[in-house]
């Protein structure tokens, strides 16, 4: 452990040769990081639990066969916004992975990407901190537990890696590496074609550029004059009036305006600024061109988003795992208090990421990649400053390297053994059977081919996968393109409110694949719709219009024949 500087040396017959010691440290570091990587795999390798995977695969297949579609290809409603294929490359890769190795391979590869994001985040610690990789592994474990909530087979996982890489590049740039910033343009070119989450990376770059000013001084201490009041009151007012995300942005901008942080001598802002500009310009090289920014603005500004998609809502702290969103920032604050004072950029970035996550739980992976390096660095500092001497001596005592490597291998192997079943074809098939309307879709394919279907937005993605031609789907979770009109119509139908009957007629919907326990099933039964079949594993029903209203209490949907 590198904190050996703070720990009195244990009695030693004599120092080993310097090369041997360096070699041992390097092996230990690699062992720690590999263990950290493997131990996060059970959290990052996931089955198709979001439901969005299916329509992404369908789009990937469509692109591979016919090129990028010019209009939205699956839905029968007129979208209010131009079709922006902001994940085309991700979808092509996903479809290819599924073709090559089934759902399991996609789960494995995206899981590896997720763990890689955590690993890169753990490496984003200034070299001057000289942290032990053991702290990095511990931080990865905690961060992985939390980030697992938002990772899995989705392009957001790729964006988590992108943000982690951006942070790593920024850290190395701050250390004086002037060439590393030129990795940014190609990275953003690729990223902009994989997922619109590149905007978070641009945000990190913009934050870095505005918060630093060239100076010969060292990193600034916390503000010590009345500018703090302006920053605090201004950011608080914006947060209350416009939302926590806006408040976080205001915090950054106000801090940058009033208390910019001096760069260390020799570090120049211009290379980063030029590279960031080039990166931003290259993001325009995508099938939608500048329209991708319109898509992002529409998605972020859509008021219906948080109604429809739970991950855009604030965290539900009744879930035990969600508590980590509270616990890890609290832990970091504790480490700041008892260990070393945080650097301003890290303090502001962590605060902004926390506010982003309180606003929308999907930002938890962003919070994780921001917190991991800080937990590692400040954790070690707090340990060195406050842990009892006896404990530090005991844990700081040198262990046989071979034993440590064997222990690391054992933990890694156990983690992989836990993770591997998730990647099997059996697990994927079982998951699809119990979570998606698989046999209901089979029934529809036979009895109502090409007919418009009413379904939930979540099932809409799967039905688009099953019926990629013919435009049979109402909406699915590509919220940014539908606009508020069609989405409001969908919500009215799904919640049996407003002019829901009129909307059914207007859209010409006469068949439905619905959750058997939904209000819409009861409502449609009262209108005389018939339950054609019931799919027990996923509790879905297939319904059709045309019958007579019931004279008595309608039979339970589960009494219908199996699909």
């Amino acid at each position: 452990m590198t904190e050996a500087t703070a720990v009195p040396a244990t009695p030693d017959p004599g120092p080993p040769p310097e090369n041997a010691q360096e070699g041992r440290s390097r092996v230990a570091a690699v062992a720690w990081l590999a263990t950290g990587f493997c131990i996060t795999l059970p959290f990052t390798v996931q089955l198709f639990r979001y439901g969005d995977e299916w329509w992404h695969i369908a789009l990937g297949r469509l692109i591979l066969s016919n090129g990028i579609p010019a209009t939205e290809p699956f839905s029968f409603v007129a979208t209010q916004h131009p079709w922006v294929e902001q994940q085309w490359l991700y979808e092509v890769l996903l479809a290819t992975l599924v073709r090559l190795g089934g759902d399991g391979l996609a789960s494995l590869v995206l899981g590896l990407v997720g763990s890689l994001a955590l690993l890169v985040a753990a490496l984003s610690v200034p070299r001057s901190a000289r942290i032990s990789r053991g702290w990095a592994a511990a931080a990865m474990l905690l961060g992985g537990l939390m980030a697992g909530m938002a990772m899995g087979v989705r392009a957001e996982t790729v964006s988590a890696l992108g943000v982690a890489l951006t942070l790593l590049i920024v850290v190395r740039w701050r250390e004086g590496n002037r060439w590393v910033v030129w990795l940014l343009p190609p990275m953003f070119l690729l990223w902009a074609n994989l997922h619109s989450g590149f905007i978070a990376g641009l945000g990190v770059l913009a934050f870095t550029l505005v918060i630093h000013r060239p100076s010969r001084g060292r990193t600034a201490p916390l503000p010590d004059n009345l500018f703090l009041a302006v920053i605090g009151v201004g950011a608080a007012a914006v947060a209350v009036l416009l939302g926590l995300v806006a408040g976080a942005v205001a915090l950054v901008l106000l801090w940058a305006a009033f208390r910019p942080v001096p760069l260390t001598p020799g570090v120049r802002r211009r290379p980063l600024a030029i590279a960031a500009l080039a990166a931003a310009a290259l993001t325009l090289v995508n099938p939608a061109g500048p329209g991708i920014y319109g898509y992002i603005a529409e998605t972020l500004g859509n008021p219906i988003l948080s109604q429809l998609v739970s991950e855009w809502q604030s965290p539900n702290f009744h879930d035990a795992l969600t508590r980590l969103i509270e616990v890890l920032p609290a832990l970091l604050v504790g480490l700041w208090l008892i260990g070393r004072r945080p650097r301003v950029p890290e303090l502001v970035l962590a605060t902004a990421a926390f506010l982003f996550t309180l606003q929308a739980v999907r930002n938890v992976s962003l919070l994780a990649v921001v917190l991991i390096p800080q937990l590692a660095e400040y954790g070690q500092a707090a340990w060195a400053a406050r842990a009892p001497l006896r404990l530090r001596l005991r844990l700081g005592a040198r262990r046989p390297l071979g034993l440590a490597v064997i222990a690391a291998l054992a933990v890694s192997a156990a983690s992989i053994a836990v993770m591997l079943p998730q990647t099997s074809a059996t697990a994927a098939a079982q998951f699809e059977r119990t979570h998606e309307p698989e046999t209901a879709a089979d029934y529809v394919a036979i009895h109502f081919p090409g007919q418009r279907l009413l379904s939930s937005d979540a099932d809409g993605g799967y039905l688009a996968y099953r019926f990629p031609t013919g435009r049979v789907v109402l909406v699915y979770d590509e919220i940014g393109i539908f606009g508020t009109g069609p989405l409001t119509d969908y919500i009215d139908i799904a919640t049996v409110s407003g002019n829901w009957q009129g909307l059914l007629a207007r859209y010409g919907i006469r068949h439905a694949v619905l959750s058997a326990s939904g209000a819409d099933v009861s409502a449609l039964q009262e209108l005389g719709w018939t339950v054609n079949c019931y799919e027990a594993p996923s509790a879905r029903v297939v319904m059709s219009a045309g019958g007579a209203p019931p004279t008595g209490i309608p039979p339970p949907p589960s009494n219908a024949p199996a699909c």
């Binding site: 605090g232 926590l244 604030s314 609290a330 506010l355 009861s522």
Partner: protein, 552 residues
């Protein structure tokens, strides 16, 4: 906790521009006016009055109505507990733990004296006293009036979603009082700590939330003991911690002296452990930061953390209370009030330390020149008069003037539908909206009509809560469930899924409709129920009808 480079001065401080050391407490009236008419003093006075405005409103708690009705029944029953609820036809066999019996009797007695106009000022003042206790606790550590004033305003903003005349404010105020007494004792000693025993005797008979007070005491004892061991800053003397531990045990015993006996201690635990309550009842859910009114809490929390990081110094008990109440507030939005009660003094003290740092850095020691005392006192009097006038004229009086059948209530409760139901044959079994059960229990008093559910979620039990959710969400099978319970009338909010489905169902027929509620009965039972025709709306119902038609 404090870092090696902590630079926080130990002493208290005054206004910006005043010497950092705590001034001696004023003894004369002139000194008091002199103190209050400084900019910081005026801010503090304004903050106190603004918090008064914030905590005063008409009664909006849907549970208030059944508490009121229950109090009336208790008084009629010679203060004997009811044992079973008299309102529902679904859980009337359940044992009813009446943990708020004394609160219910008090509001019923007040209602008897002056209607809602007597209850609103009492409950509003009760809440405001809580704010005053926060101020007094904060002043134990700082006299910085700027920090005190800003802190109170931030606290008022943070607890904005919770304020209002409601039973939970008992817990807020008593928590503030408890923390004041404990803090005072840990700092200065004295005998006031023993006041906690009668306080808990009263509290445990007013509201089941007294358990949070016991938890606070236990957490303080544990945190201070740990702080002593870890050599954290400003530890309390060991002997005083031991005394607080003894007081905690005695308070636990004293709290058992209530009509429900020791079982009252389990009541809160049952509520917290109920997944149905946590999932289905809005105020038990986590804060939704998309809503404007909750963001004040986020800002208060984040700014507190910012102050902490800047100062790097906090007492063990304060850290523990902040951590505990933050966790509680994230768990359920209703606990934001508890967070404010426990954490506001820490927020104020941390801001005060930060202001001291700023002043030290700025190097300014000369106090600003102020106008003469006469001018300042005049300004203070004017400001106080304006704010007090606003408080009384704009908030208190309108809130007191609201009657149970006012238009504002007709928009949110079945005011008009219950007028129709009172004309109907009595003894009906009515399926109702959860949040409207309390009002129906109150307004249908004496009719013999029974409702499906009301706001005592613990009494209802998880099974009934889930059943209610299934029916209101129109989960298939909802009609059978309604019939199994022998429901005769469904009275539900207009425009909901259940309302739309009932309109479509050939089995049900609409018998009542206003812009807020619609009522349905089974077509097969319509003739036998002998329901009256819908009356011509009058008063607030006529206004509601006119507004409903206008909006449609």
């Amino acid at each position: 906790m404090h870092g090696p480079d902590s630079v926080v001065p130990a002493g208290a401080s005054g206004d910006a521009g005043e010497p950092a050391a705590a001034p001696p407490p004023p003894h004369r009236l002139r000194d008091r006016f002199d103190e209050l008419s400084t900019p910081g003093g005026m801010l503090l006075v304004a903050a106190l009055l603004i918090t008064g405005i914030a905590v005063t409103s008409a009664i909006t708690d849907p549970d208030f109505w059944w508490h009121l009705r229950t109090g009336q029944l208790l008084i009629a029953n010679h203060l004997q507990l009811l044992g079973h609820d008299p309102y529902t036809y679904t859980v009337s066999s359940h044992h009813w733990t009446m943990h708020e019996w004394l609160f219910e009797i008090i509001i019923a007695a007040l209602y008897d004296i002056g209607g809602l106009g007597a209850i609103v000022p009492v409950l509003s003042l009760l809440t405001w006293f809580g704010v005053v206790f926060i101020l007094l606790r904060s002043r134990l550590h700082t006299r910085n009036r700027l920090a005190l004033g800003v802190g109170l305003i931030v606290a008022a903003l943070a607890a904005n979603p919770i304020w209002g005349p409601r039973d939970q404010m008992v817990d807020f105020t008593f928590s503030c009082l408890l923390l004041l007494l404990v803090e005072r004792y840990l700092m200065r000693g004295g005998r006031a700590i023993w006041l906690l025993l009668p306080i808990f005797l009263l509290w445990s008979n007013l509201h089941g939330g007294f358990v949070v007070g016991l938890v606070f005491l236990a957490v303080i004892v544990v945190a201070e003991a740990a702080g002593l061991r870890l050599e954290l800053p400003d530890p309390a003397p060991r002997r005083r911690i031991a005394t607080v531990a003894v007081v905690t045990v005695l308070c636990t015993l004293v709290s058992m002296i209530n009509p429900n006996g020791p079982g009252i201690l389990l009541y809160a635990a049952e509520t917290l452990a109920s997944p149905a309550q946590q999932a289905l009842i809005l105020e038990w859910q986590s804060p939704d930061f998309h809503q404007l009114e909750v963001r004040g809490f986020a800002v208060m929390l984040v700014s507190l953390l910012g102050f902490l990081v800047a100062n790097r110094r906090i007492r063990a008990r304060d850290a523990a209370l902040v951590a505990l109440t933050t966790a509680l507030a994230f768990e359920s939005v209703r606990n934001v009030a508890i967070f404010v009660a426990a954490s506001t003094p820490t927020w104020i003290e941390q801001l005060s330390h930060l202001l001291d740092r700023l002043r030290t850095t700025a190097g300014r020691v000369r106090p600003p020149r102020l106008p003469s005392l006469r001018v300042r006192v005049t300004a203070l009097a004017l400001m106080t008069a304006v704010l007090l006038g606003g408080w009384v004229g704009l908030r208190l009086v309108p809130a007191m003037a609201t009657t149970p059948t006012a238009l504002s209530y007709a928009r949110t409760y079945p005011v008009c539908a219950s007028a129709w139901l009172r004309e109907a044959p009595h003894g009906l079994r009515i399926f109702n909206q959860y949040g409207e059960g309390g009002y129906l229990a109150f307004s249908l008093a004496g009719t013999g009509d029974k409702i499906f559910i009301f706001g005592d979620a613990a009494l209802m039990g998880d099974k009934l809560l889930y059943t209610y959710a299934d029916i209101s969400d129109v989960v298939p099978g909802w009609q059978s469930t309604l019939e199994d319970y022998g429901t005769q009338v469904v009275l539900f909010d207009t425009g909901t899924a259940l309302d739309h489905v009932l309109q479509e169902s050939p089995n049900w027929v609409m018998v009542y409709s206003d812009p807020h509620n619609q009522a349905f009965v089974l077509r097969s039972e319509l003739a036998s129920l002998h329901l009256p025709p819908q009356p011509e709306p009058t008063g607030s119902c006529a206004q509601l009808a006119a507004q409903g038609e206008g909006s449609s």
